[in-house]
């Protein structure tokens, strides 16, 4: 999957300006950058939630807009932060929606098995009959991830999955992201605010500034003092922790 020169303008001002990069398969890629740098918009464009003004989003040799919606949803899943739903669905009902692209809501035996596996994978068995609006934020986020697992896509896009979670739940969420990649072989792209999560848990980082790509590369390449200071306009120190470059900022 690669994108080429995508541009998005709001009121004549380009929030995403001719951005091109390739999404490395089977890896975790984090999109970072200051507010308004365009990372969420890029995420929206590659997940077909936001229409672009120019450029190409190529997914498996075909532009993403040309894919049949149903087929695409078997290959690519997107979880946005707008999922604060007031609906009374149980965890298992929510996870079962992940099978919708396959069975259209009438679950086969195999669908049910996949749903059960997804629930077990996210350790939600004891909550499976609880309504999602009764769960804590961390549990609810896990339920959504379980749904995405049940959707069984090669690519998983997560828009700020650690948003509104405390340190414990956010860290567990990042560990889950790592597991999705390492154990289930998924390609994961996520938008993150917390750069140390990006540094510790992803393989590649794409840093945005002013609607353009400021740096793209492996964690080690991007996480340098000079790069980060330039992108965020704040002083940074880099320290190696468990072989990963983590940033200290103040």
């Amino acid at each position: 999957m690669f994108i080429k020169e995508i541009t998005k303008k709001y009121d004549g001002k380009a929030v995403v300006d001719s951005v091109s990069f390739e999404i490395p398969k089977g890896k975790v890629l984090s999109l970072i950058g200051p507010n308004g740098a365009g990372k969420s918009t890029v995420m929206g464009i590659i997940s077909r939630l936001i229409a672009r003004d120019a450029g190409i989003v190529d997914f498996k040799g075909q532009d993403i807009g040309k894919w049949k919606s149903r087929e695409l949803s078997k290959k690519l899943a997107i979880l946005t932060q707008s999922n604060h739903i007031q609906m009374k669905l149980t965890v298992s009902e929510l996870v079962a929606f992940g099978r919708f692209p396959y069975s259209g809501g009438r679950l086969t035996k195999e669908d049910e098995k996949i749903v059960d596996q997804a629930i077990a994978y996210m350790e939600l068995e004891e909550f499976r009959d609880r309504f999602i609006d009764e769960l804590s934020g961390g549990q609810r986020q896990r339920a959504y991830i379980a749904m995405v697992i049940a959707q069984d896509t090669e690519y998983i896009l997560l828009d700020e999955p650690t948003n509104n979670l405390d340190i414990y739940h956010a860290t567990n969420m990042m560990k889950t992201v790592r597991k999705l990649c390492d154990e289930l072989g998924k390609t994961v792209v996520l938008v993150l605010h917390e750069i140390n999560y990006a540094a510790f848990y992803s393989d590649y980082i794409c840093a945005f500034a002013d609607g353009k790509i400021a740096r793209f590369g492996t964690v080690e390449e991007v996480m340098t003092r000079e790069n980060l200071s330039e992108i965020y306009q704040v002083d940074f120190e880099i320290q190696m922790v468990k072989g990963k470059p983590l940033a200290i900022y103040y």
Binding site: S82, N83, M87, K88, L89, F97, F100, G105, S136
Partner: protein, 326 residues
């Protein structure tokens, strides 16, 4: 008022059978269809609009259908039930679409604004209807559709209400689509569901159901609002799981209200709208108070008496209180 006795029916009394078939049975069927239809329409609208206070009443569907009937009366004075129904379908669908298009555009922060806008919009449509009725001296003719009642339900002039049945079946078939659309645009797109298509198709089904009820019995408020809410309190929002209960409860609710209406000032009868209005508004206030006190927490049918579950439930209530204020 003629008594129809079971014994006479059994004995094959032709006169009694005629009354039974021409008036009593149609009335019962109309009541059941009304209850099933209005509550299903309310359920669909609430899900699709992601708002628990939207219903055919608060979504301007009923008032739009009434406008359609008036237009039929004005422009086609000789109109039959069917041609009036066609007018009502068109206006009800358009009215509901406009309302939903509007609330999608504005994106209110506060959920209560949505039904308020709906009520305002409904009143604007109702105002136009009243103005036209006044201009064309149709006020009296129209009054039959303003206040819902079953007393004119007879063979040959109610059959259109049967349209509720295929529509409810259609709603059941697309129940999962409606659920997914109710989870939002991004959520729908992720699962490959065409958001706008399903949204407006669902609204069309709800509007058709409402219009076919309004044409036959007139406006009946509250059912579409209360019944789905009460059922959801116990059974959640998964439409496949609640549609049958909602429909059944709606039918029973209307049936009971009709019985009350016929008994209170016997041998006369109160219009169903009056009974439903009084009962419905009381239940509605009770529902609101319950919400204020307990939030959106569901009522559990199984005993939650053991302490572990109770503690978990109260914790959930606390965390939810925090969530709702944001």
């Amino acid at each position: 008022m003629i008594d129809v006795k079971l014994s006479a029916l059994a004995a094959g009394n032709a006169e009694q059978w005629k009354i039974f078939l021409v008036s009593r049975l149609p009335r019962l069927l109309a009541i059941l269809c009304t209850g099933v239809g209005m509550s299903t329409a309310g359920l669909i609208m609430q899900q699709l609009c992601m708002n628990k206070f939207v219903s055919p009443t608060t979504g301007a569907t009923i008032s739009s259908a009434q406008l359609g009937i008036l237009l039929a009366l004005i422009f086609m004075p000789q109109s039959t039930l069917w041609s009036r129904a066609v007018f009502a379908f068109v206006t009800a669908i358009l009215g509901t679409w406009i309302f939903v298009w509007f609330i999608q555009r504005i994106r209110f922060k506060d959920a209560v604004m949505v039904p308020l806008v709906g009520i305002m919009f409904g009143n604007v449509v109702g105002g136009i209807t009243n103005y036209l009725a006044y201009q064309y001296e149709m006020t009296q003719a129209l009054s039959s559709w303003l206040v819902g009642h079953f007393s004119l339900v007879m063979r040959g002039r109610y059959e259109i209400v049967y349209l509720v049945v295929p529509m409810v079946i259609l709603a059941f078939v697309f129940a999962n689509h409606f659920n997914i659309v109710g989870m939002g645009k991004d959520f729908s797109k992720n699962l490959g569901v065409h958001y706008n298509l399903v949204l407006f198709a669902g609204l069309t089904i709800a509007a058709m159901i409402t219009a076919s009820v309004v044409v036959v019995v007139g406006a009946i408020s509250y059912i579409g609002l209360i019944v789905p809410n009460i059922v959801a309190m116990f059974k959640g929002d998964k439409i496949r799981g609640t549609l049958a209960d909602t429909a059944l409860f709606g039918a029973i609710f209307v049936l009971v209200c009709d019985m009350i209406g016929r008994v209170v000032i016997h041998p006369y009868e109160l219009p169903i709208e009056l009974v439903v209005g009084i009962l419905g508004s009381m239940i509605f206030i009770g529902l609101l108070l319950y919400r204020l006190k307990h939030g959106r927490r569901s009522v559990r049918l199984q005993a939650a008496s053991d302490s572990g579950c109770g503690a978990a439930a109260s914790r959930a209530a606390v965390s939810q209180g925090g969530g709702e204020s944001s």
